[in-house]
């Protein structure tokens, strides 16, 4: 039985992906922000799939210490139950914040949760992914188009604009996947960006200002139900050999912004390594890559 990790699995797209993957017979490790939300999601899924093998770990991935702690828990669980093998890591957790707020590390919250947590979690789970010939899926979005990296002030500390910060975080996700794939030629592990399209979830309603909630409650009505994009994740994971594409939407492979290039990807990768206090290259060397 192949094991997958889904972050932000208690609601929205993450929950739908979890259902879809359990349906296909994967073993699920889900994460959610609070113990209550994890319990609730685990109970719902266990009721629907009584035979399924699933476990939830609560962690607020906005804070990097919690990402590291979660990774330790997952690695220990994988070692005990799955011979240390992880088949897919679905970096899906994300948020929208209408005000400038920081994580415990002093990083802007959307940047930290939507992007940096995925960067760090992937790093820590990488040895397990190598053992499992795994795939890394990152929830991006077409909103990354028409957006450039705001290098001058990457966390928008001077003038905060929630929409721009969100769009940039989704561009970061693709740049990360791109930089990772450059380093992984010759290795069976591959990274993919996923465009779920406009989906009717609660993302803009959780702990946001009236304006953001109002805008999102109108906008989300045009969105599809989360079951639709869940199929993309299942398709990318379901192929026997890791597919060659990079960015997938409901209808298959899709185009991405020209901003997703080597220069931006490497610059962001170096910055992210510094912000997380890690080095992928050293880890790759240790893993014999």
């Amino acid at each position: 039985m192949n094991t997958i990790v889904v972050t932000g699995a208690t609601s929205g797209i993450g929950f739908a992906v979890s259902r879809e993957m359990l349906n296909k017979g994967y073993r699920l490790i889900g994460t959610g922000r609070s113990i209550q939300s994890c319990d609730k999601a685990a109970k719902l899924l266990a009721e629907e799939f009584p035979e399924a093998d699933l476990i939830f770990f609560p962690a607020n991935l906005m804070h990097l210490t919690q990402v590291t702690y979660l990774a330790e828990e997952i690695n220990a669980y994988l070692a005990q139950n799955c011979e240390g093998r992880l088949f897919a890591l679905i970096n899906n957790a994300g948020c929208v914040c209408s005000h400038y707020t920081t994580s415990e590390d002093g990083y802007e919250q959307q940047f930290s949760l939507n992007y940096l947590s995925a960067f760090l979690l992937t790093y820590h789970l990488f040895p397990s992914l190598i053992k499992g010939n795994g795939r890394i899926l990152i929830t991006s979005s077409n909103s990354h188009k028409m957006m450039k990296m705001h290098w001058k002030d990457i966390m928008y500390q001077r003038r905060y604009n929630p929409l721009m910060v969100y769009k940039q975080s989704k561009l970061c996700n693709l740049l990360f996947a791109h930089a990772l794939n450059r380093r992984l030629s010759g290795c069976p592990v591959r990274a993919y960006g996923i465009d779920p399209g406009l989906v009717n979830t609660d993302i803009g309603l959780k702990n946001n200002s009236r304006l953001t909630r109002l805008v999102w409650s109108v906008r989300r009505k045009k969105g599809v139900s989360p079951e639709v994009p869940a199929k993309i994740y299942a398709r990318v994971c379901g192929q026997k050999h890791a597919p060659d594409g990079f960015y997938y939407a409901v209808h298959g492979e899709t185009a991405f912004s020209r901003q997703v290039n080597d220069e931006n990807a490497e610059r962001l990768f170096a910055l992210s390594e510094r912000l997380c206090g890690i080095s992928y290259d050293r880890m790759f060397e240790g893993a014999g890559l």
């Binding site: 400038y100 590390d105 500390q157």
Partner: protein, 266 residues
């Protein structure tokens, strides 16, 4: 420039720390919450070049504050600026709260803040200017029923800072009171602002702007900073309308807000 920030692992403290680090300041961060200090220290060190020191301190305990100052001395960290951010509040009316909580508000917001200010002033550079910032509140401008202790404690800081500023003007010490409206620092504070409805969103300030402006104004030697046009207008009204009428109006507003707050927290 060497800056001491209290309450540095909270939302506003972190924002001040980032703002100062961006300007190339060396920082000594303190808070009662030690893990938070390690996290923000790491985050700042990875982004900026300045020297970032941390030391846990319960400001209500004299021994802790002395240890903090000894630590600064050992590190040869002479102060140029003190940002008094640490403060607390408990929602609910005077009789709905335990007296221990009421006294804790006073002890942290007033007594501990003055204690650390007194010690820090002794640790300032002998030559050069010294800047002190007190984080007061828009609440300091009025008597606020149901938030009486908090508002009065912030009023204390406002009056105190004006007097202290005058007292130490000749010694090159500049004292500023920051009187912000709502600041979205945590999910709880966001819910608190939501509960106030229209007034909440009108008086809320952008935290990233407030911290920059506060440092700028402090360096320019200003004494009071009320961020936002709307808040300044409210501040003006408080000068002309008798306090008992304001108290009556605010009682209406806060009893509604508190009911809403209870609903949102359920």
């Amino acid at each position: 420039m060497n800056v001491l920030i209290t309450g540095a692992s909270g939302g506003l403290g972190r924002a001040f720390a980032i703002c100062c680090a961006q300007r190339g300041c060396n920082l000594l961060l303190t808070d009662i919450e030690e893990n938070g200090l390690y996290a923000i220290q790491n985050g700042l060190k990875r982004q900026f070049d300045g020297n970032i020191l941390i030391k846990r301190c319960d400001m209500t305990i004299d021994k802790d504050v002395r240890e903090l100052m000894d630590y600064a001395n050992q590190q040869n960290f002479k102060l140029d600026m003190l940002l008094n951010v640490a403060g607390i509040d408990y929602e609910g009316g005077f009789m709905q709260r335990d007296f221990l909580q009421i006294s804790e508000i006073l002890s942290v917001n007033v007594e501990a803040t003055l204690r650390i200010t007194h010690h820090a002033l002794k640790l300032r550079r002998p030559e050069g200017r010294f800047y002190v910032v007190f984080v007061s509140s828009l609440a300091s401008l009025y008597p606020i029923p149901l938030k009486a202790t908090y508002a009065a404690s912030k009023r204390f800081l406002l009056d105190f800072s004006l007097a202290l500023g005058q007292e130490l003007k000749s010694k090159n010490v500049f004292v500023l009171s920051l009187c912000p409206g709502g600041l979205c620092t945590t999910q709880d504070s966001l819910r608190g602002i939501e509960a106030q409805g229209f007034w909440g969103s009108m008086t809320t300030n952008r935290i990233e702007k407030v911290v920059h402006q506060t440092i700028n104004r402090s360096l320019r030697g200003k004494r009071i900073y009320i961020p936002g046009m709307f808040n300044r207008a409210l501040g003006l009204i408080s000068r002309f309308v008798p306090a008992f009428i304001i108290a009556k109006l605010l009682y209406e507003r806060w009893s509604k807000a508190q009911k809403q707050w209870l609903v949102l927290n359920d």
